[in-house]
C-alpha cells in the first residue's frame, strides 16, 4: 500500500450505520473500494446514497462502524485528500475561473493571508492554467462563474478539486443538472481524467445509464423494508454490487474501443453504439 506512491488508496467501510435521532438512514454497510476504482452509487431518492457520500467526505460521522482510507480512520472533517464536486454551489461566485482553481494552492501555500505572491504565484498560475486547459476552459480564465454555462461550471469544479491532487474524488450527482449533449461531453472528460489521474472516484447518481457508462463498479442502495410504518426503524443497505464486465481498468483502454457516448469516430457504428444521430442521447 505504501510503495507506489501515496496515491493508491483503499477505502474500507466496515459495518457502518447512520442514524439521525430515531431515524435509521443506513444500516450494515460494509464495502471495500479498491484503489483506482470508479464506483457509482445508485438507488431511489431518499435511500441514503448522499448520506453515505457525506460520511466518506467526513461531513458527517457514522453512528456505528468505521471508515478507513489506507488503514487510517477517517477524520470526521472534510480534508484535502478527498476532493468533491456537488451538483450545485461547487464553485465560488466571487472568484474568476483562475481564482477558483488557484484557491486550493493559495490555502496550501499561505497560512495567514491565503494569497500567493511573486514567483510562487506564477508557478501556481501555470499549474492552474494547465488544469484549466485540461478541462477545456482555456480562454475563460478571467470570467466569473455566473458567466459560465452549467457544464462549464462543473468542469471548473473538477479542475478546482483536482489541483489538490486528492486521492479520492467524491461526486454528488455532478452532472445531474446538465443537458444530455453537454453531459455526454463531460462524461468523456471525466473518463479521461480518471484514466490520467491517480484517482479513486465515488459518484452518486440517479442516472443508471451514467453509472454504467462511467463506472467500474455499480453499487445499488435500497431499503429492504419500505412500508411506511417500517421506514423509520429500517435504513437502506447495499442491495446490488455489480462489477462492470469486461472490466474497465484505469489507464487502460476499454476492450470495446468505443464507449457508448464517446464522440463519434469515423470507423462506423459498433454493436451497441446508439444510432449516429447528431447530439442524440437515447436514455
Amino acid at each position: 500500500m505504501v510503495e507506489g506512491g501515496a496515491q493508491l488508496s483503499e477505502i474500507v467501510i466496515d459495518n457502518v450505520w447512520k442514524e439521525y435521532g430515531d431515524q435509521i438512514v443506513l444500516e450494515k454497510i460494509s464495502l471495500t473500494i479498491e484503489p483506482r476504482a470508479f464506483v457509482a452509487l445508485v438507488g431511489p431518492s431518499g435511500c441514503g446514497k448522499t448520506t453515505f457520500l457525506r460520511l466518506l467526505l467526513g461531513e458527517e460521522a457514522p453512528t456505528q462502524g468505521t471508515i478507513t482510507i489506507d488503514g487510517v480512520p477517517l477524520v470526521a472533517e472534510p480534508s484535502p485528500d478527498r476532493g468533491v464536486v456537488f451538483q450545485r454551489y461547487s464553485v465560488f461566485p466571487h472568484l474568476t475561473v483562475l481564482g477558483n482553481v488557484l484557491l486550493g494552492k493559495e490555502f496550501q501555500g499561505s497560512r495567514f493571508a491565503a494569497r500567493l505572491l511573486g514567483s510562487r504565484r506564477r508557478t501556481a498560475i501555470e499549474e492552474a492554467r494547465e488544469l484549466i486547459a485540461e478541462v477545456g476552459l482555456e480562454g475563460a480564465e478571467d470570467k466569473y462563474p455566473a458567466m459560465l454555462s452549467g457544464g462549464m461550471q462543473q468542469r471548473l469544479a473538477l479542475a478546482q478539486a483536482l489541483i489538490m491532487r486528492p486521492k479520492v474524488l467524491l461526486l454528488d450527482e455532478p452532472f445531474g443538472a446538465l443537458d444530455p449533449g453537454i453531459r455526454a461531453d463531460i462524461h468523456v472528460l471525466m473518463k479521461r481524467l480518471w484514466h490520467e489521474t491517480a484517482l479513486t472516484v465515488v459518484m452518486v447518481t440517479h442516472d443508471l445509464r451514467e453509472a454504467f457508462t462511467l463506472a467500474t463498479r455499480v453499487i445499488a442502495f435500497e431499503r429492504p423494508r419500505d412500508r411506511p410504518e417500517e421506514r423509520e426503524r429500517y435504513g437502506a443497505s447495499l442491495s446490488r454490487d455489480i462489477s462492470i464486465w469486461p472490466p474497465r481498468v484505469a489507464g487502460e483502454a476499454f476492450p470495446f474501443a468505443l464507449d457508448r457516448d464517446d464522440p463519434a469516430q469515423p470507423m462506423g457504428p459498433r454493436r451497441d453504439d446508439p444510432a449516429p444521430v447528431e447530439g442524440a442521447m437515447v436514455p
Binding site: P78, Y89, S90, V91, F92, P93, L103, F107, F112
Partner: protein, 271 residues
C-alpha cells in the same frame, strides 16, 4: 391586455417617475400662493423667493456672529458624526456578524443577547448616553452606533449562514482552515451585503443623528432645524430638509455604485 403585463418605454417610465415630484412642487406652490394672498406675512408656506433668500443667507453668506457659512459648517458637523457612527457600527457588524455566522459556539454565546439588544429602542438609551458620555460628540456617535449595529450584525450573520453549505465544504476539501475560509470565501461574499446593509441603515442612522442633535448640540443640520423652529422659519427648514434628503439619496447611490464597482460579480449573483 392585463395590467400586470403592461411594460413602459424608458421615457414613459421616466415621465411617470417625475410626475409625483412635479405634483408635490405644484401642490406646494398653489398652497403657498393661496396663503400668501390672504396674508403676505404668512410663515408656514413661504414663497420660492423667500426660500431662495434663506438659502443664499445660509449657504453663501458667512454668519455674522461666528463667521462660518452655516449650511456648510452644519453639514460638516452632521456628516462627521454620521460617518463615525456608521464606520464604527459597520466595523463591529462585520467582525461580530462573521464570527456569529461562522462559528456555532459564538452563535450560541452571542446570538440571543444581540437579539435582545436589538429590541431596545435606541432613543430610550439617549439619556443614559448623555449622562454617561457627556453632551459632546461621543454620545451622538454612540447613539448612531448602538442604534444601527445590532440590526447590521444580525443581517450579516444571517447572510453568512445563508452561504451554501456546499461552498464551505468545498473550501475545506481545498485545505482551507477556519481563518482562511473566513477571509477568502466568507468575507468577500458578505462584503457586498455589508454595503447593502449599510444603505438600508442610512435611514435609521439619520433619524438617530437628528434626534441627538435636536436635544443637545451647537451645530449640525438637525440642531439648526430645531433651532429655527422657534422662529417658525419654514424658509430655512424646508431647504434643510431637502438638503438632508439629497445627502441621504446621494449616499445611497454612491454606496450601491461602490458595491457594483468593487464587486463586479455581485451584480450577476443578485442577492
Amino acid at each position: 391586455m392585463r395590467w400586470i403585463n403592461i411594460r413602459l418605454s424608458r421615457t414613459a417610465a421616466l415621465t411617470l417617475a417625475l410626475l409625483p415630484f412635479g405634483l408635490l412642487v405644484a401642490a406646494y406652490l398653489t398652497g403657498s400662493a393661496a396663503r400668501l394672498a390672504l396674508n403676505p406675512d404668512d410663515k408656514l408656506l413661504p414663497s420660492l423667493t423667500s426660500i431662495a433668500d434663506a438659502i443664499n443667507r445660509m449657504a453663501f453668506i458667512p454668519d455674522g456672529r461666528t463667521g462660518d457659512v452655516l449650511l456648510w459648517s452644519d453639514t460638516f458637523a452632521s456628516l462627521s458624526r454620521l460617518g463615525w457612527g456608521l464606520a464604527i457600527s459597520t466595523l463591529i457588524a462585520l467582525l461580530v456578524g462573521m464570527i456569529v455566522g461562522m462559528l456555532p459556539t459564538a452563535r450560541s454565546l452571542l446570538a440571543p443577547v444581540i437579539a435582545v439588544i436589538a429590541m431596545v429602542p435606541p432613543l430610550a438609551l439617549l439619556p443614559i448616553l448623555f449622562i454617561l458620555l457627556g453632551l459632546g460628540e461621543t454620545a451622538k456617535v454612540a447613539l448612531i452606533a448602538i442604534g444601527v449595529a445590532p440590526t447590521m450584525i444580525r443581517d450579516l450573520a444571517l447572510k453568512v449562514t445563508e452561504l451554501p453549505r456546499e461552498q464551505i465544504v468545498k473550501a475545506e476539501t481545498l485545505g482551507g482552515s477556519s481563518w482562511q475560509i473566513a477571509i477568502r470565501v466568507v468575507l468577500p461574499q458578505v462584503l457586498p451585503r455589508l454595503i447593502t446593509c449599510l444603505r438600508l441603515q442610512l435611514g435609521p442612522a439619520w433619524l438617530f443623528l437628528i434626534a441627538a442633535e435636536a436635544i443637545s448640540s451647537d451645530a449640525g443640520l438637525g440642531y439648526r432645524i430645531f433651532l429655527v423652529r422657534r422662529y417658525l422659519s419654514m424658509d430655512v427648514i424646508f431647504p434643510y430638509v431637502a438638503w438632508i434628503t439629497l445627502l441621504a439619496v446621494l449616499m445611497n447611490l454612491a454606496l450601491d455604485g461602490v458595491r457594483v464597482a468593487v464587486f463586479p460579480w455581485s451584480k450577476a449573483v443578485r442577492n
